[in-house]
């Protein structure tokens, strides 16, 4: 796999579309055990990110990601703003100067994203947050690469791991974020942030596949 700047942009625009499509759904998930703004806030953030990108002549993939991160930080607010913002900014930092990335670069980016999220939010797996989707995806991506899988299959395994992680958030009680006030009463509800993380990872897989398959 090799993605250039333009292809990276295409993926980000697509993520923006997906978030828009799922705005209501994410908001409803958040309403059940949080404050019902996750979809609204993310959509505001990605709209700002896309607008910014469309009006910027980006040099490299690092800069692209940092622009997205900063747009999210300054437009989302709440908990997910700093978290996703940090994730994109950190993954961008690791790609400064790069105009092409391969699957190993992507692994590095996801690794930096998760580290940023965990540093900022201090959550670990099992606390019913986006970490429950991203960390399994990262691990699975590593396994797949190590096992010699191609980029598309590796991404597919990663996003499937994210999906399982997302489903797993239903089974557990929240100990981080707003849902933690509900304690045991949060069990049975799927975490909104884990869901948006899965949506993003799934979208990346789909778009990379399309791109590599020449669609």
């Amino acid at each position: 796999m090799s993605l250039n700047v333009e292809q990276t942009l295409r993926i980000i625009y697509k993520i923006g579309d997906k978030i828009e499509e799922n705005k209501q759904y994410l908001t409803e998930l958040d309403a059940a055990i949080g404050d019902g703004d996750h979809g609204i806030n993310l959509s505001k953030g990605f709209r700002a990110a896309v607008e910014k990108l469309r009006n910027t002549q980006v040099k490299d993939i690092g800069e692209t990601m940092k622009i997205v991160g900063m747009a999210l930080v300054s437009n989302v607010g709440g908990a997910s703003g700093p978290l996703y913002g940090t994730a994109f900014m950190k993954s961008g930092q690791a790609m400064i100067g790069k105009t092409e990335i391969d699957i190993n670069d992507f692994y590095k980016m996801l690794y930096e994203a998760l580290s940023g999220i965990k540093l900022r939010g201090k959550a670990t797996v099992g606390e019913k947050t986006m970490v429950d989707a991203i960390e399994p995806a990262l691990n699975e991506l590593k396994n797949a690469i190590d096992e010699g899988f191609g980029a598309i299959s590796a991404l597919e395994r990663a996003k499937n791991a994210a999906l399982s992680g997302m489903h797993f958030t239903k089974e557990i009680a929240a100990t981080k974020g707003r849902a933690s006030y509900l304690g045991e009463r949060s069990i049975g509800h799927q975490d909104a942030g884990a869901t948006s993380s899965y949506i993003i990872l799934d979208c990346i897989y789909e778009e990379v596949k399309n791109i590599l398959e020449g669609k």
Partner: protein
């Protein structure tokens, strides 16, 4: 949704314009940011106090910008923490040579956004400290969760930190006193009805005609339990037992009391609640040094109220009594 608004997407911006139109003698708004700062900021030789949070809690926090309280209040979208760039902008605008203290309510979003802003300001060489207010005793077992929420007790924090800063004290001194207030204040609330976030257009939860939620958070976060509506005295007794179970109050101790309406509860009911709060404290021999009854930290048009009790020592009493001149809280 019955609201006196124009466009649900623009309520915060339009509110800001209305505040500035009402109180030009107190505040000005930073361009491009929903940030209100003291008219004459930065005030040289004074630690700057910056607070903020989601909108919908008015008069918090913009109403407390002024002499003896805050230097800046950052307003997020309704019930959503403001973003770091706005907070950073606020700090940059009001920080003096003495630095700035951020007063943060303990919500994951608020803490993270303020933290990022703090890092950004520090990179500019501005001295910034922060404190986290967590007065809501409805949320327990803090080791397992993100800890207690910050609610109406925050207004006591603003008042006393503001008075201390006004004396010209250094940043660490202001922080020490502010942390003392946080250690000494406890609150708990209850709700009779939900409220409607304009952008959502529908109530954030539902309660039956005869039901109330005890321990309700100021964004409609669930409390400890729901039960059938009781009398004012019974409700107050329960809230006070939770509060007093969490703070050590002895005979002859002095306290400040805040009875805070959440938005739709008439003052009449707040005073009826205060009557019982006062009785409970006096029965214990606790002295009520000052009482504040009104709307200080609301949840849009939610019906309900919270009680805050702040234990006072001589230092806190003097600072509580010090002059404050802000749109929403004045002490002469």
């Amino acid at each position: 949704m019955k609201k006196i608004i124009n466009n649900p997407e623009r309520v915060v911006e339009e509110m800001m314009e209305g505040i500035v139109a009402a109180y030009p003698q107190y505040v000005r708004k930073l361009e491009n940011y929903n940030v209100l700062v003291r008219k004459n900021s930065p005030v040289e030789g004074k630690v700057a106090l910056v607070s903020g949070g989601g909108s919908g809690h008015e008069p918090s926090h913009g109403g407390f910008v002024g002499e003896g309280m805050l230097d800046a209040a950052v307003a997020g979208a309704v019930f959503t923490s403001p973003t770091p760039d706005a907070i950073y902008e606020a700090v940059k605008n009001v920080a003096s040579d003495k630095g700035a203290l951020l007063i943060i309510k303990n919500y994951t979003g608020d803490v993270m956004n303020f933290d990022m802003a703090k890092e950004m300001a520090e990179m500019d060489g501005i001295r910034v400290e922060s404190v986290i207010v967590n007065d809501d005793v409805a949320v327990e077992n803090s080791t397992w969760t993100v800890g207690r929420r910050g609610i109406a007790g925050t207004v006591f924090v603003h008042k006393i930190a503001g008075a201390k800063a006004e004396t010209g004290a250094e940043l660490d001194e202001v922080k020490r006193v502010t942390e003392k207030v946080i250690a000494n204040v406890r609150s708990m609330g209850m709700a009779l009805t939900p409220c409607i976030v304009p952008a959502a257009g529908k109530p954030n939860f539902t309660l039956d005609e005869n039901e109330m939620e005890i321990g309700m958070g100021i964004h409609g976060e669930p409390g400890t339990h729901r039960e059938n509506l009781k009398t004012a005295d019974e409700i107050v007794e329960h809230l006070m037992s939770k509060i007093l179970g969490d703070i050590n109050l002895e005979e002859k101790d002095d306290v400040a009391v805040m009875i805070n309406g959440l938005g739709a509860t008439p003052l009449m009911e707040l005073f009826i609640a205060n009557r019982k709060v006062d009785e409970i404290l006096k029965t214990r021999g606790v002295r009520v040094y000052r009482t504040f009854v009104g709307e200080f930290m609301t949840s849009l048009e939610m019906a309900g109220f919270s009680i805050s009790i702040l234990k006072l020592d001589d230092e806190l009493k003097e600072l509580l009594d010090a002059k404050a001149d802000t749109p929403a809280l004045k002490v002469l």
